[in-house]
Symmetry: C2
Amino acid sequence: MNARKGLRPITRKDIADEAGVTETIVSYVINGNRYVKEEKRKRVQEAIDKLGYRPNTMARALKGKKSNHLLLIADDIKGEYFGKLISEIDGLAYNEGYFVSLCADHKDEDFVNRIYSKFFDGIIIGSASFPLYNIQRLIDAGVPVVLLEIRDYYSINGIYGLINTGLYDGARECVRTLYRKGRKNLLFLDRITVDGKGSDMDDWRLKGFIEESATLGLESDERHILTGYRSEDELLAAFAARVANGFVPDGVMGRNDHIALLGMAACRQVGYRVPEDVSVIGFDNSRLCKFSHPPLTTMGIDQREIAKTVMRMMVSLIDHKSEQDSRLEAYLHTQLVMRESV
Amino acid sequence: MNARKGLRPITRKDIADEAGVTETIVSYVINGNRYVKEEKRKRVQEAIDKLGYRPNTMARALKGKKSNHLLLIADDIKGEYFGKLISEIDGLAYNEGYFVSLCADHKDEDFVNRIYSKFFDGIIIGSASFPLYNIQRLIDAGVPVVLLEIRDYYSINGIYGLINTGLYDGARECVRTLYRKGRKNLLFLDRITVDGKGSDMDDWRLKGFIEESATLGLESDERHILTGYRSEDELLAAFAARVANGFVPDGVMGRNDHIALLGMAACRQVGYRVPEDVSVIGFDNSRLCKFSHPPLTTMGIDQREIAKTVMRMMVSLIDHKSEQDSRLEAYLHTQLVMRESV
DNA sequence: CTGAAAGCGCTTACAG
DNA sequence: CTGAAAGCGCTTACAG
């Protein structure tokens, strides 16, 4: 009971002593890979329950067993999109016996070495800025990897999971939604980044915007894409500048709800009414949408479905890797949520 | 290069071979706890850099070294409050060499055994529903624990960190803010829970609401507290029912911004104008506030400051536990953010 | 059917 | 100053 000393963690030996069997026997009942006399098995099981024993994860992992730890690498941990996703993944993972670690996409060279200390049973990459060669390195090293297709991963080879979360089709539908309202002069609002480096054409949402615009015969050159800002204020300023330069958008598509709402504010700032003068559409269907004014029309992402797919792939990759002979793929869909901003 | 085979993780032996020294020497230069001839040290260092070697975390932890893993237990992973907090903690933790795992507060009896497999160097508890006796068990077992004081933890003994994030004082200031606007008939909106079990008096925000009301001579009996709902719709219905029963609030305080905004919607639903008829105040200063209509006045929480305090305490607890002779405490402050809903 | 033993990748007290 | 060796808590091939 002395907090300073620390209660000794209970080990396999304690169970063996308590149950009156060899340590070997304890291992075999835990791993269930050898017949053990029913009566001994029972005594061991009781000892385990009584003492609340859990095999030391470290020791098991050292002997080649799983660490039961997954890592999720994200770039916008703060956002509601990842919040929901993590929450769903955590729920499913916990039931499968896993813990999930969360990590922003750190830029230092050492990052990959650190995550590759044989610690994680699998890695989920949901960051658009994680370098491709590092992803390839992980896959080549045999680490189970599941990629959330925020950007194009066509160049990645090997056995891994790839989840297309419907961003591209969703973006196209956003454009069509604006178009159906008679909007012809669209503006895409890119993300805010620390370094002011925006998305490139490998970004599914931007790509969807451009290609659907082309399909519909709408312009989508660089005047129609606002990018390169590092803060909310810079976004507002960039928008105002674009308008001052004579560009008059009648439809605004935000890369996510937060950005779309900032676009809405920017519109009002230069005197446009939403949705009378300009339609605004977001992406994510986050809580923000319902409470904005007017409520934001948006493209909903089903994080629960994504989480289920992630876990399904992870389990395949971890437990049945040798049975796979090509990458696993899944295509999910977004869903338009009509409110009043379009 | 064969993805199926997997590149063998590089071990201490590889470094020893590469540098032409004993494995022992490699360990000593890594841990820096013995003099090693400058020239050997240099060769080892070069080999480490060249091969990108990282000591196996599992093996080190098995020998009593740190696992460099922290666990954060939260109850509302989805929310923006935790999103920001995690994001900040992750940033600081990464620089200190830690990864942080995230976990909802699972209810099964086995949860504590699972987290107590000697895996985590420390545990941060930000969940109001984590059972007190389990917290005490962890602390008694010598696990470094930092508690975010969402509720009252006066009964926990031993050496641990306790961070009062200013919820109580913040809640009181919310009440005063409403009061200053002449609001006398206040309504506290509690959280939405899965089981419909609301907060008790150990909850700092509720406690602050009740006690400041008393100080100001305002009523704060159960008619002034709305609780026990399991969904947004139930909240709206409960609000309408309370009003139908003849209770006419002129000030609404939400437990967080999301709840406050729901309260705002509820007000409108029964025909009240905000802020003309009723003032609404939230808690968190999340993105929601800025985009609501009218923009929500709220109590800001500084997650960055909380994260810094958490890490500072964690490091003390992990690296200098023996030097502590009582629990570590910190008091942080919330900050009123005036907008237009009060 | 079952136990003693090797070994996973490390750290560090021990003995030169 | 430095190496061989014990041992952390496990798993499982090996030899009864």
